[in-house]
Amino acid sequence: MIFSSIPFLFYFLPVVILFYFLAPEKLKNAVLLFSSLFFYAWGEPRFLVFMMVSILQGYICGILIERYSDSNPKRSKIILTVSVLFSLFLLGYCKYTDFFLANFNALTGMSVPLLKIALPIGISFYTFQILSYTVDVYRKDVPAQKNLIDFAAYAAMFPQLIAGPIVRYADIAPQLKKRTHSIEEISLGIRRFVLGLTKKILLANTLAQLVNIYKASNDKSLVFAWVYAIAYTLHVYFDFSGYSDMAIGLGHVFGFQFPENFNYPYISRNITEFWRRWHMTLGSWFRDYLYIPLGGNRVSKPKWIFNILIVWMATGFWHGASWNFILWGLYFAILLVLEKLWLLKKLPKSGVIPHLYVMFFVLLSFVFFDSPNVPAALATLGSMFGFAGLPLISTETLYYLSSYAILILIGLLGSTPLPAKAAKKWFGESFLEPAVLLALLAVCSAFLIDGSFNPFLYFRF
């Protein structure tokens, strides 16, 4: 089930909220757990077992790691290793098997059949959460969770289950035990949820239409290729940050404080800053569980550069089992190394040039991100830089540019803090804010409902 759907908004969510707030304090985590399992099973009934096995191994290993941490540290380490390998194996099997088989076939000329394993939704997120939990228990950063319901409620919690943010156990362990619910928190959560829903449905989904139109077009042009790249860059931001906003908003409704995941990344002045603002929970996860264990920057320069390349290759690979994702990660690694070694000192600290620099390279990166493979990415980049023999502009370009101009403009403005500042100034204590939120909810519902628009072919009669 996804948040931006009628069954979620008008069936699942009201019913869960009703049961949750009617349930006594002791049973609230159980309500969250069972509603999360239902939420997951709705989209992936067959894969529920993967998640439950992952949760069980994380729960048992966490307890065992803690039990032997003082009396038998070696055994504790072995259990941690088993748990980490289990998590990585599960993720690797479901997500990367066919990638490795395809590359093995390409290298050896063999034709080992691909397994065509369907990717369980959210596996990258819940695997990383469980993995970090066992590592944290081993490091004695957090005590092991003894209550299976509480642990499972954390790992499977539906607001952040399928698209993050990656919530570490340490972040919400106290709230799992005791949390407060207030009208202020719920109201804050609703505001955040509706804004996230608006980002997702009105901006991300609509810009995705423009992206798809470009891909299907037989009348491409150089300008159209740039319009596509801009539309996709905005789409991916509003899609992902919208989902994170909804997750954080739902967290507030249920009394949790989830970490922020996006902080206006497109206003960054350099790539280093961009990655401090983009998918922050993933960045900090790789920093704490891969980059620092590899030695971080407290090593020789070549080893430090190597560490950065490894971390960013893994970051790219986490996003998808394809070479273009790996290259996407390495592309940022190279930019980050260049910045740290030389570029940061040269870049102006103010003005428009640093922003143009960031957006230019981010725009190109998302062309790679969106492409099905490396040749397709290079073909699109070729179109953008005039190497594809396309005309400068075409009839379709003009039409779709004018049809989507306002949306692109809203998208560009919406990716800066300006709308939030303006809303604060305009609404303040005004009662207009609830009215605007309700209107946005109604418009989002209208866009969802119109998704069912499906005129009978007979209309051509």
Partner: protein, 366 residues
Amino acid sequence: MRTKIKNYITCFATAFFLFGFLLWGIIAPDKDVSTSERRPLAKMPTLTMESVLDNKFMSDFENYTLDQFPLRDNFRTLKAMVSFYVFRQKDNNQIYVNDGYAAKMEYPLNDSSITYAGKRFGYLYDTYMADKNINVYLTIVPDKSYFLADKNSCLSMDYEEFVRKMCAETPFAEYIDIMPLLSIDDYYATDTHWRQEKLLPVAGYLAEAMGGSLKESYSTAQLDKPFYGVYYGQSALPLPAENLYYLESPFLDACVVKDFETGDTMPVYDLEKGHGNDPYELYLSGSKSLIEITNPNASTNKELILFRDSFGSSIAPLFAENYAKVTLVDIRYIAPQILGRFIEFDDQDVLFLYSTSVLNNSTTLK
């Protein structure tokens, strides 16, 4: 204090919205049909272990909630208004409105579709008409974008190229160009179709091109029901209702229409269908695979076979003046292979009358 009240309003208004529509959706009886889209609406799926495990129940339930959502058409209107007037998008689900006329973007020109249509017409010619004393004609009815697209800077086909390609695919037919005779006023604002009461010049021109002439005078009658065409529902905008007119004449009153599907006779203007979901079915009862108009007062034995789409329904009665019999064939509903069982092809005029919309999406032709 003010913040506290605002928070309470936010919570209760949202709860009222979500719970209100949840309860409304549960209590309200399910609808069978969407009149705006002219299709049956999804019903509550049956819950079985199999349908849950293969995810069918979930996807069917989602379709059900979308189709049966309370105030669904109003929400669709809201979406259209936001797309057009807030986001200033030029079309909504490929429907656009210009000068009060709603039209669907017919774009791009589909070469393979034209080729396919040409092949189907060629099959008919080779099977039934070649080496016979039959005069074969082709005419193409432009969709509304032919008139509107430029004004709205909308994407539209190159219609000259379209006609050139279609003529190249049908070298056996003499092309009759009616496009210069038509204007946007000849179409309903909310529908895809042309207006019968405006078609006399076009019908006369076609008749002349086929060696006849139209002299009959008609009176105009109005259907006693507001007409909302197919684009009214599809645009989801509050467009004004129109009046649907039809041409009456004593010679038409004497004509006999036979439906080959049922073997029954039927009126030229089916007023019952005029009051149904699609009032344009008033003309010759709408979508019929094979019908025949016999004119008992004809001064000739000539026959016309009209291969047509829905545009043919409203113009065909006007041709009846020149012929003893007009046979209408819609090869979207009848296989051309079996036509010989019903029609003896010899010594007739044959007119292929198709709209650009059907020719550019010709997969429905059999």
